[in-house]
Symmetry: C2
Subunit: 356 residues, 2 copies
């Protein structure tokens, strides 16, 4: 690993209380380039730019995938990652499906720790604050043939993130648009999946809904995901979530919610969720809550859902009654080292690890 | 339109008989940038590079779409585009579905003519030669939020293309992987669609097939497209091709083949093609030919098809008997101004139009 530190830190400009998320970047980034069938040396260098022409293959054929994860600083200033091995495994699943080279543990996990160690001062401390981390791989060869690229870049960039309150949202159950095909790339964190979701989401926004609940494309009869979150439905005291499949992203927050719920003795059913089952439960008054989960917001409750032109209001439980809130609190406690971690999910970023 | 000509033409390096397609670019490119809700001025400038950071939105969220078209030089040195209005319409359909700004006719059609006019010397003359032209739009804002970008670049780049003989290929009928979802983006020339196809195509290659025949993702029971071509099936003397839909690219070559076949009085049925119908026709000996069509190769005949572990050999008609070959010859004749153009498909690029 080559470490080239900046002589021009921008950290004095960081105003923790006015972070513009996603457009303020930490001083450094990690970069590694692939050529002639292999990855080159991992470099940590000042955040900055490269040059490209409009022939860069990922602009034309979309070979690009990414991860989204966070680092948390506890009250003593220690820094933790959350289940980074899961993101490492997932980016390689995405890469494989897009015919891109997989990255090594050294590049991803060790590189990540070194980068976070070097820029640990950028991680804001305090309830809900974190460092949002974006590893990505994209095709860099400049050529116009519709085939897989021979050159790639792996990069890790990161942006400080403030706590943000996620107010309950309204969601539209999709009965026309879909996110993923059978035998497609829905399980991959492929760049192209996100672009495909923006227009349907705009239409949902215009109809008065913040998010979409994606359904299966063949029948639109089953819940799949919600926006960029996995989805949970609670009927009476049972929690339902769809099984992951080649159409559904295998979310790390989803997996963590399932584990936490089971440990509490809650009943968790991982099975297909028919839209009609949810609509019926709503009618019968047994539908207690629906929520989405993902790294960005941890969890976000739904207050209404649109279906076939109707807007169905969901009950709003108190924080004490809500499974979504209880599990969220517990997960945040584990992530930020305020609570015991029975699963071994937290990974300490040792001080000085970049230089070991 | 701002025209900034290069003082360093590379054209003396162009060796018509050894063109490395897709990686040799003409001297100039067209560029136009979108910001603050509108497109800026169209610029024609020396082909070259821009700078980007790994936060560039199209690398992360895949907002990128493109077109593929050709310019042809006739024996007198006149240069023609082929149905450029169709590409203009299609790129805007793609852009809309990906929540990207549409481009104007001035940017696309007039810009294209000016660029081709300026670099007309780069278009190789002679049977089958052409200039391959790649207009594209991609998101350039640098931010990590999963939402549509506020900044875009529209660019047109081009590469001289030599004649290439398209030998008949073997194709695998997909019974697991798919290219597009119902309510998805299959009809768009979205960058992400291509990345999604590479891995299944690699698997097909390993199984001894050059291309895939994509089927519908819900049942895998119907033909959709083949590789990056639309598909035609001939049973006895009737030609079948699937209707375009939100899953199938509305190919310009496909449309032209249909028109040409109808004008010749051939029977053309635009309807769903069940895989079983084709397999049965093969068994009964009534299946005459199958071929794909697209701008790159015009048309490519299939010599075998794989289905459920079996490899079915297709008849190989003589060029005279083959509808695929006859229609291809006629289309090439029109494109390259060797034949009358009853449809008005050819568009002359006037000399000096860039400076008008
Ligand atoms: C489509 C989609 N589904 C679900 C998730 C949730 O995954 P995770 O919990 O790993 O962040 C994400 C990412 O945030 C996503 O992009
Ligand atoms: C997926 C796909 N289908 C079909 C085609 C054929 O379209 P056209 O005839 O407009 O080139 C293309 C582009 O070449 C394509 O990428």
């Amino acid at each position: 690993m080559i470490i080239q530190k900046t002589s021009n830190s921008r950290i004095q400009n960081l105003d923790k209380d006015n972070i513009s998320f996603g457009s303020t970047f930490i001083d450094h980034m990690l970069v590694c380039e692939y050529e002639n069938g292999k990855w080159g040396e991992v470099r940590i260098m000042p955040y900055g730019s490269f040059s490209f022409s409009p022939a860069m293959m990922c602009l034309n054929y979309g070979q690009a995938c990414f991860e989204g994860m966070k680092a948390y600083k506890d009250q003593k200033g220690q820094v933790f990652l959350f289940r980074p091995e899961k993101n490492f495994e997932r980016i390689n699943k995405s890469a494989k499906r897009l015919a891109m080279p997989e990255v090594t543990r050294e590049m991803f996990v060790e590189g990540l720790k070194a980068l976070v160690d070097i820029d640990r001062a950028w991680i804001p401390q305090g309830e809900g604050f974190s460092l949002y981390i974006r590893p990505l791989i994209f095709a860099t060869e400049e050529a116009l043939m519709a085939r897989e690229s021979n050159k790639y870049m792996f990069a890790i960039i990161a942006s400080p993130a403030k706590a943000y309150y996620s107010a309950p949202v309204s969601v539209l159950i999709s009965d026309y648009y879909s996110r993923a095909a059978n035998g497609g790339i829905g399980f991959a964190k492929a760049a192209g999946n996100y672009a495909a979701a923006f227009y349907p989401t705009q239409l949902a926004n215009e109809a008065g809904y913040e998010q979409i609940i994606w359904t299966d494309d063949a029948t639109h009869g089953y819940f799949e995901e919600s926006g960029t979150m996995n989805v949970f439905v609670r009927v009476e005291d049972t929690i339902y979530t769809p099984p992951v499949s080649e159409r559904i992203l295998d979310g790390i927050t989803r997996d963590s919610f399932i584990e936490l719920a089971k440990r509490r003795g809650m009943e968790v059913v991982v099975d297909k969720i028919p839209v009609q089952f949810v609509i019926n439960a709503h009618k019968e008054g047994t539908l207690k809550e629906i929520w989405g989960v993902g790294t960005a917001v941890v969890s976000n409750r739904f207050k209404a859902m649109g279906y076939k032109g109707e807007r169905l209001t969901l009950p709003l439980l108190s924080d004490e009654e809500s499974y979504a809130e209880n599990l969220k609190k517990e997960l945040i406690g584990i992530q930020s080292n305020q609570q015991e971690d029975p699963f071994g999910w937290r990974v300490l970023v040792e001080e000085g690890v970049a230089h070991k």
